[in-house]
């Protein structure tokens, strides 16, 4: 198994604390994610460390007996210590107020700080769970629900252990995860994780079943919206993504592991002590150790070694483990840090050695652009709502978050397509097919294609002398009109004369490029055509006479010069009642030339009314 194969890892910078031993007790507070190391009941010191805390909190307290539980309130304001099963001590004197009370027989409870929900196990079997939801100082009772046990229990003893229940937020929704062990009586092939969706309103509903296909001891984490199931017997883990397509039986969706089971990447424990002293190599950490304790969502604690890690998903190795590129994209698009990996997948599927087929490439582009379009639409409706004015603006209106899954044209251009088109060994047919496929996909999602993509197509076609293809693309307006594109076409005229016509047509359609059209025609000495065009659009009263006379003179066609000159004399007459040019028009030179060629008497006479 190569180094590249591990797709789960422990974070580089774990929280290190004094390992548990007879004089040092270690506690973990799930709400603040803090580890408490309590030496000798607190008499010789309490050290509190959280994953984000740069400076650990240390203090001492009187040893008043064995500490059962110790926690800080939010923002570390109040410390609570529990030494007996029925008392909680707050080291400073505080008043507590009973807000609400419920009378329920509880087997055990579980609290989820992210969801602010507490679950109470009730009934004899313990499998009826009663959730409460805390919000703004109130506690609301949610509908209770029953966890289906693997087989009808024979006895009437507690059958649902808190060890088999977890709560976590997945894709923004709170789920209760139940690890249903393999039962010999049922014909299931292994243990399962059953996901109950626990909405803030409405009843809890069984939604997903994750098939583990194995038995033994398991532990659950949730990382980046993936359910990670660790298996101690094989010392491997698998991941599930409930957003990936599963088998839906009408009520629940069955999922299989996204990837083959793999161990967490081997981890080296750095040797303590000042750097120059430590000559011995780091010690490999025992993974899946029985002393590991797993907390939601992504925490693994080894009390015996004194470490708290966050579990992380490594995306790059997954690229090679998931051969179905469509599924791979579905998977990656849901991950937080996905952009560079997605772009590398795109580059890879266009590379000579790992080239994907066009239908696969098309699928990948479609998936990317689907996500891209969703974001553009959200952005658009946000902008519209903001423009509609603050009165109609709902307070819930938030600017859409641009996640890494939004891979836009500029990303694709910079990281994938421009590099790809530069590769000499690529057959040009494939290059063009890929570019057209990307443009097709953008069009399909009604995303305006940026001109640099069109330029890339043109550049590639020109490089291979495929002017006729280019012509056909332009004919069907596949390459959208724009001034930069029209200018690019003009520059191609010496290689491919029809580019001139294509460029003029494009400028005409833009309807904002009339000046450019006149310039193009004048540069080709088509003075009369330029004048006819500008007259056709009614702009002939505002054009510079000098510019046209200059161009006419350059043609060395005296009759043309005469025609143009006479046109402007008539314009002067019409606009100012006099055919003469004003000094501001700077046409003295042309008047002199006209007189020289055609004589003074050829000048138009002013008419007086």
């Amino acid at each position: 198994m190569g180094q590249e194969d591990y797709y789960l890892e422990l974070c580089d910078r774990p929280v290190h604390f004094e390992k548990a031993n007879p004089v040092n007790c270690v506690f973990f507070d799930e709400a603040n994610k803090q580890v408490f190391a309590v030496r000798s009941g607190g008499a010789t010191g309490v050290v509190v460390k959280g994953p984000d805390d740069r400076n650990p909190i240390s203090f001492r307290m009187e040893d008043k007996g064995e500490v059962k539980c110790i926690k800080f309130s939010l923002e570390n304001k109040i410390l609570a210590v529990q030494r007996t099963s029925k008392t909680v001590v707050l080291p400073e004197k505080r008043n507590l107020k009973l807000l609400k009370s419920q009378n329920i027989n509880v087997n055990w409870y579980m609290y989820c700080p992210e969801g602010a929900v507490i679950l109470l196990s009730t009934t004899v079997l313990g499998n009826v769970l009663q959730p409460f939801y805390f919000r703004a100082g109130t506690m609301s009772k949610l509908p209770k629900f029953e966890i289906e046990l693997p087989a009808a229990p024979k006895s009437t003893k507690l059958s649902l252990s808190e060890r088999d229940i977890a709560m976590a937020t997945i894709y923004g929704q709170l789920y209760v995860l139940f690890l249903r062990h393999h039962s010999r009586t049922s014909n299931s092939t292994g243990a399962e994780v059953v996901l109950y969706h626990l909405p803030r309103e409405g009843a809890c509903k069984k939604m997903h079943i994750l098939k583990l296909n194995r038995t033994g001891k398991f532990a659950l984490n949730v990382v980046d919206n993936l359910v990670v199931v660790h298996h101690q017997d094989t010392e491997t883990s698998v991941i599930f993504d409930i957003k990936l397509r599963g088998e839906f039986d009408g009520t629940v969706t069955f999922h299989h592991p996204v990837l083959p089971a793999r161990s967490i990447q081997p981890y080296q424990i750095p040797v303590a002590g000042p750097a120059p002293v430590t000559s011995q190599s780091p010690i490999p950490c025992k993974l899946y150790s029985s002393s590991w304790i797993v907390f939601q969502p992504d925490i693994i604690i080894s009390a015996s070694q004194g470490y708290l890690w966050n579990l992380q998903v490594k995306l790059q190795p997954i690229v090679n483990l998931l051969p179905d590129k469509g599924r791979l994209m579905d998977f990656l698009l849901q991950r937080k840090e996905c952009k560079m990996v997605i772009l590398s997948v795109c580059s890879q599927m266009l590379s000579e050695s790992d080239r994907a087929t066009l239908p696969v490439i098309a699928t990948v582009f479609d998936k990317l652009n689907h996500e891209y379009k969703k974001y553009l639409d959200a952005e658009q409706s946000y902008t519209t709502a903001v423009e509609a004015g603050p009165s109609r603006c709902s307070p819930l209106l938030k600017r859409p978050v641009r996640t890494q899954a939004v891979v836009d044209q500029s990303d694709m251009y910079t990281h994938v397509l421009s590099v790809f088109t530069e590769k000499k060994e690529m057959p040009h047919k494939f290059v063009i097919a890929v570019l057209m496929e990307y443009i097709r996909s953008l069009n399909q999602f009604q995303i305006t294609v940026q001109h640099y993509l069109h330029e890339l197509v043109i550049k590639t076609l020109v490089q291979h002398n495929l002017f006729y293809m280019l012509h056909q693309f332009l004919q069907y307006h596949v390459l959208s009109d724009s001034k930069p594109l029209a200018c690019l076409l003009l520059s191609l005229e010496s290689f491919y004369p029809p580019a001139h016509q294509l460029s003029l047509d494009m400028l005409k359609r833009l309807s904002t490029a009339n000046d450019e059209i006149v310039e193009v025609l004048l540069s080709k000495h088509q003075v009369l055509a330029a004048l006819r065009f500008i007259r056709g659009i009614g702009g002939h009263d505002n054009i510079s006479a000098r510019k046209f006379l200059d161009a006419a003179k350059q043609t060395e066609d005296n009759m043309l010069f005469y025609t143009i000159f006479r046109f402007f004399e008539q314009r002067n007459q019409r606009l100012r009642g006099n055919p003469n040019f004003t000094p501001g028009e700077h046409c003295e030179e042309h008047v002199a030339f006209f007189k020289q060629v055609f004589g003074d008497q050829a000048l138009m006479r002013p008419t007086t009314f």
Partner: protein
């Protein structure tokens, strides 16, 4: 410029008209028999073959002499045609020293004189040089498409092989020339493009690229719908002649069986196969027949450059036709044909119905389903795009026009005028019986409009044409 009023009118009862006809057609190379007594060697092909040897030699010699003689006046542009009372001769030198000559008899009007004897009157000015010169050039292009160049035949098997090829090709081809219905469109040799929205066009692109990827031996692809071109992987000149072949020869031959509904089987009997309407227009007729022959026409493209020989596979589903061209060194097998059928058939069927649906939507949106009030011909030299509301439909036998031949001749005359100058031009002609003919040339584009408005004057006609340009050609740079 005004056209002479047509003679069809009174006295027509006693008149008989004979359209122009092909008198002879020959190909020679003066280098092949330079010495006296060896003149016969010059002749590579002669139609009609029955003509006596010495007459053949005489006619060839005459052409040679005319070309030589006129060359002294214009060394770079030797004579292209010779006008005589009874006929016209057209000369073309498509390859160095290889001359093709076509002799066309002028149209004839046979009148009854008072004494009852028929009097034959040759109409010397009826035929347009440019039209028939173009027909002659087309003969060469069509030969070259299916046989390659004269020179290549010489290299491959000497004069003997060249003569065989010429005989085999022109023997049949000359019978398909319908000289009486040649017109302006023959000069243009244009391509009618199928109007399509961007998205559907991109889907077709995607389809073609996928097919070329899965059928890796395919070198070029062309895509047509309703006999109109949508995509050509071939270069323009090669596509132009291939298009001519497809639309005037191959497709029309398959229209009849299609109408009878015999040749479009739904392949439901093939297990695991999607139902589709795909079938081969060239190659195997029945894929289930293990003895089916997979012979495809061979064509030659890029003859100036890479000189490629290709097999032409034409495959059609409903109104969509695809031409796959594969290297001639690869012999397509029945297995390949079956694979092609199973890959292309279903996808092309879906695509064809997509195109049809989209086309109808676009037509409804643009409101262009209304009959065009204008009769016009448009041609763009740059992309060979051609559009005619004058020609009803092309069939192998005749190109039906909806206007009087005299008007068609005026169009040809205007075109000749345009050819003479480089500048943009506009010509308005008042023809007989309330018809106006307008020709416009802007850069590389030509537009010909025929208007029939009672008592219209020049200004009104001009306005009408402006209106047409604004509705039909508003997305191109076409000067008013």
């Amino acid at each position: 410029m005004a056209a002479a009023a047509a003679g069809a009118g009174a006295g027509a009862a006693q008149e008989k008209q004979f359209p122009p006809a092909l008198l002879s057609f020959f190909i020679y190379n003066p280098r092949f028999g330079p010495r006296e007594g060896e003149e016969e060697n010059k002749i590579l092909f002669y139609y009609p073959n029955e003509v006596e040897k010495n007459e053949k030699i005489r006619n060839v010699g005459l052409c040679e002499a005319i070309v030589q003689f006129t060359r002294t006046f214009s060394p770079s542009k030797p004579a292209k045609s010779l006008h005589t009372q009874k006929n016209r001769q057209f000369f073309n030198e498509p390859e160095e020293n290889f001359w093709m000559v076509m002799v066309v008899r002028n149209p004839i009007i046979e009148k009854q004189s008072k004494d009852g004897k028929p009097v034959v009157e040759y109409q010397e000015e009826e035929l347009l040089d440019k039209v028939y010169s173009s027909v002659l050039q087309q003969c060469y292009s069509m030969y070259k498409l299916f046989n390659g160049t004269f020179l290549r035949a010489m290299e491959d098997g000497g004069v003997k092989l060249l003569k065989e090829r010429l005989e085999k090709f022109f023997h049949r081809y000359l019978q398909t020339l319908h000289l009486q219905s040649c017109d302006l469109l023959d000069i243009f040799g244009g391509i009618s493009f199928f109007p399509l929205d961007k998205m559907t066009y991109l889907k077709i692109q995607s389809f073609i690229n996928r097919m070329e990827e899965s059928l890796s031996i395919v070198k070029y692809t062309a895509f047509l719908y309703n006999d109109q071109l949508i995509w050509s992987g071939l270069e323009q000149d090669d596509m132009r002649i291939l298009y001519k072949y497809l639309t005037t020869s191959l497709f029309p031959r398959h229209i009849e069986p299609e109408l009878a509904g015999r040749d479009s089987p739904i392949r439901a009997e093939m297990p695991g196969n999607l139902q589709h309407y795909g079938r081969f227009l060239t190659g195997p007729l029945n894929l289930n027949d293990p003895e089916a022959k997979c012979r495809f026409p061979k064509i030659f493209v890029n003859t100036d450059d890479t000189y490629e020989a290709l097999h032409l596979i034409v495959y059609k589903a409903m109104s969509a036709a695809v031409c796959f061209m594969i290297d001639a060194s690869v012999q397509p097998t029945l297995d390949f044909c079956r694979r092609l059928d199973s890959i292309v058939g279903p996808q092309l069927t879906v695509l064809a119905s997509d195109i049809c649906e989209q086309f109808n939507i676009n037509k409804r949106m643009s409101g262009s389903e209304k009959e065009p009030q204008f009769k016009f011909i448009y041609f763009n030299h740059m992309n060979l795009a051609e559009k005619s509301t004058i020609h009803m439909r092309k069939t192998p036998s005749v190109s039906l026009t909806s206007v009087h031949p005299d008007l068609m001749k005026i169009l040809g005359d205007i075109n000749s005028d345009f050819t003479r100058v480089d500048e943009d031009e506009e010509i308005i002609v008042k023809a007989m019986s309330d018809y106006w003919v307008v020709g416009k040339k802007s850069d590389q584009r030509e537009l010909y409009v025929i208007l029939n408005q009672k008592n219209a004057n020049l200004i009104e006609v001009n306005e009408e044409v402006k209106k047409l340009c604004a509705t039909q050609f508003n997305n191109i740079f076409f000067l008013d």
